[in-house]
Amino acid sequence: MHDAASGVVPYHAHQFDDAEQQYQTSTLGMWLFLGQEVLFFGAVFATYFYYFFLYPDAFEAASNHLSLTLGAFNTVVLIGSSLTMVFAVHAAQHGTKRAQMAWLVATMILGIVFLCVKAYEYTHKFHEGLVPGELFTYHGPDAPQHQLFLCLYFAMTGLHALHMIIGIGILAALVLLANRDWFNAGYYSPVEMTGLYWHFVDLVWIFLFPLLYLIGRH
């Protein structure tokens, strides 16, 4: 398909005049998508802040149910995965296939480590009777507010984890495509767009970590 003479790149979609227009359009589309993601998480952040201002003391106390060590560890893991993602995009832009695949796999591994720690934390909450609903057994002061905090904790980190799982799935697809020489120095926008998404999901965690894990520590 690649016809160098006419300047047509492979995987050029028919609705675009040239590769430049295609690249610009997909970049804009990705940013618009991330714009809706901001509002998506924004609504649940707004709910969090509303109840935090309503019950500041209970939320600070409830924050101590969470493990600071595990949260901090996961923060480092995620920031590390953003770094490996940057390297993957860089390698894709320079058309170095092996490096690109290695960095993509590294990003996936760090993402999976994050999810494993998260799963461990969830299981731990389950054993402690801190899962909201029928299984909630905490009966200390402000129990309903503690339950509210933990419910928001599960909702926010759960949505975040869902985004991570989708991201890891996309990374796996990119690895397979890269292996089939799908990308080159002239066509790498799927890798770059995935990078944008991955950084956004990391950024959400950068807000989640202080709001959920740190508010109770003085």
């Binding site: 016809d3 609705q15 997909s26 589309g29 809706q36 509210l148």
Partner: protein
């Protein structure tokens, strides 16, 4: 790679409808025109379902005792009517059907920016819609389309979970459409088509897409939190468990008020196209109409609290929301005045789309002005939750959005199908809709002012006369909606073939054949003049 060759080889008798046959060629199509028609089929079914619920409601209200259905059935009927008409019909109506079809044509593009996402949005919409429809039909939902907590989460015994989940899913279809439209409008315009040459329908689609992107994710989270509360009995919104039901209302209306503009802005765009074409006049105040669409989209995000004047939100918040709500009237009035000014000294042709457009202007004006009654704090306390509110938003949603949708269908039908419908029948249907609509909803203003509350199925005897008027109007309205379904379907097979530019309009979509070829244009058009340049008479010509 072989595009130029394809263009030269294009045969005028091949168009997007006959380029490929079979169910597969439709279900896996990435052509924006075919996806528009797929959406048309889906939402027509849901319009019929919502209309059936409306018919049952009106029949029940014929007598003060509400003899047709029981109380809980009545609750399920008005919920079905609301959920179906809003989430499954009005929100996708003009953007997903007309926008999908004409937006790329209007800007001289071969397709939307992301054709696969476009097809995905249709599937997502249908999955969500079937979920919601199943919930509404098998057992029903009795919360009203607003799903207010804590009733929806702690008390209701109906299918709230699956219904809300359906609405949640359809939201993602809206988001994909919004992303697709904005990316397309920014990057895919034909050479010479600058921002101040864009058709006003495209501006309206842009403004609508802003709301799709900024509003829809919020309702998604709101419904999700509501579903969590209902499924696990956690006090996210239930005051008995430490939650706050007012927060649910804030989050709900943060989307659902702008959603009103999702429904009306596209219609306003349609009206700008029709008014210019059928008055043979350039649009009056182009930049003001374009900017007012964006202004409505943005101000629309700041007024949601006017739904909550009696909910217990702070008096100061109500005061500010009331003031901000008045601001929406400014861009809306700018549009109405500019349309009327466009008509001035134009050569008006009263063809079917124009009858709808003129109907829109009148009905939207009534709907808009009565909105001011409701954004005034003191009068709203009296009118809140009465039939006055019901009449007001039906003047906007049906008198405005739906009239615009029908106008658009009639205006672009020759382009979409390549066939002509019966003009006389179409005009009669438009007039029936206008008369039936007013007979249905004008009495409801009076009923509401006299104090008849909404969502009740029994009422005092003195309200019966006006309710009988309303039900009679609804039957007339029903005929007005049935007629177009019949003659439009008839025209697809037996209608005379349409010329490329049936109305003699100047938009780019009329420069290609009817129906257009799959790739829209044989050669990418180049735009050299302002939009709506109707000063020179346009020849009706067939572009091969």
């Amino acid at each position: 790679m072989t595009e130029t060759v394809v263009h030269e080889a294009h045969d005028a008798s091949v168009n997007y409808l006959n380029a490929d046959y079979g169910v597969r060629s439709w279900l896996f199509t990435k052509d924006h025109k075919r996806i528009g028609l797929l959406y048309l089929a889906s939402i027509t079914v849901f319009f019929a379902l919502g209309g059936l619920a409306a018919l049952m409601i009106r029949l029940d209200l014929l007598t003060p005792a509400g003899d047709l259905v029981r109380d809980d059935t009545y609750n399920k009927l008005f919920t079905m009517h609301g959920v179906v008409m809003i989430f499954l019909f009005l929100i996708p109506s003009i953007p997903a059907v007309i926008g999908n079809f004409v937006l790329p044509l209007m800007i001289g593009a071969r397709d939307l920016a992301f054709p696969r996402l476009n097809l995905a949005s249709w599937y997502i919409f249908n999955i969500g819609a079937l979920f919601a429809a199943w919930a509404l039909l098998a057992g029903g939902i009795d919360t009203g389309w607003t799903f207010y907590t804590p009733y929806s989460t702690m008390s209701s015994n109906s299918n709230v979970l699956s219904g809300a989940f359906g609405a949640f899913i359809t939201g993602f279809a809206s988001i994909l459409t919004g992303v697709n439209f904005i990316a397309t409008i920014h990057r895919m315009r034909a050479p010479g088509l600058t921002w101040n040459r864009l058709p006003l329908f495209v501006w309206a689609m842009y403004a609508t897409s802003i709301i799709f992107i900024l509003g829809t994710p919020v309702i998604a989270i709101t419904l999700l939190l509501m579903m969590i509360e209902r499924a696990f009995h956690i006090g996210l919104f239930d005051p008995a468990l430490g939650g706050d039901p007012i927060l649910f209302q804030h989050l709900f209306w943060f989307y659902s008020h702008p959603a009103v503009y999702i429904m009306i802005l596209p219609s306003m765009g349609v009206i700008s196209e029709i008014i210019t074409c059928f008055s043979r006049n350039r649009i009056f105040g182009y930049s003001f109409i374009a900017a007012s669409s964006i202004a409505i989209a943005l101000i629309g995000f700041l007024v949601w609290g006017h739904h909550m004047f009696v909910s217990g939100q702070s008096a100061n918040a109500s005061l500010i929301f009331s003031l901000l709500s008045f601001f929406v009237a400014i861009p809306s009035a700018i549009k109405v005045f500019n349309w009327t000014a466009t008509l001035y000294r134009g050569s008006v042709r009263l063809q079917a789309p124009m009858v709808y457009a003129l109907g829109f202007i009148g009905l939207f004006t009534i709907g808009g002005l009565t909105g001011l009654f409701l954004s005034t704090l003191a009068t709203d306390v009296h009118l809140h939750d009465t039939y006055f509110v019901v009449a007001h938003f039906h003047y906007i949603m049906v008198g405005g959005a739906l009239m615009g949708y029908l106008g658009a269908i009639h205006f672009w039908w020759p382009k979409m199908t390549g066939r002509l419908y019966n003009e006389t029948l179409a005009k009669i249907a438009a007039i029936i809709v206008f008369v039936g609509f007013n007979l249905t909803f004008f009495p409801q203003f009076v009923l509401g002012f006299l104090g008849m509350p909404r969502r009740y199925h029994v009422y005092p005897d003195e309200f019966q006369v006006l309710n009988v008027f309303s039900t009679a109007g609804a039957s007339i309205l029903g005929i007005g909606y049935l007629l177009p379904v019949l003659y439009l379907i008839w025209s697809m097979r037996y209608g005379p073939k349409a010329e490329a530019n049936h109305w003699g309009a100047v938009g780019l979509e009329w420069q290609t054949s009817s129906p257009p070829p799959t790739e829209n244009f044989d050669h990418t058009p180049v735009v050299t003049s302002e939009p709506y340049d109707y000063r020179e008479p346009v020849e009706v010509k067939k572009v091969a």
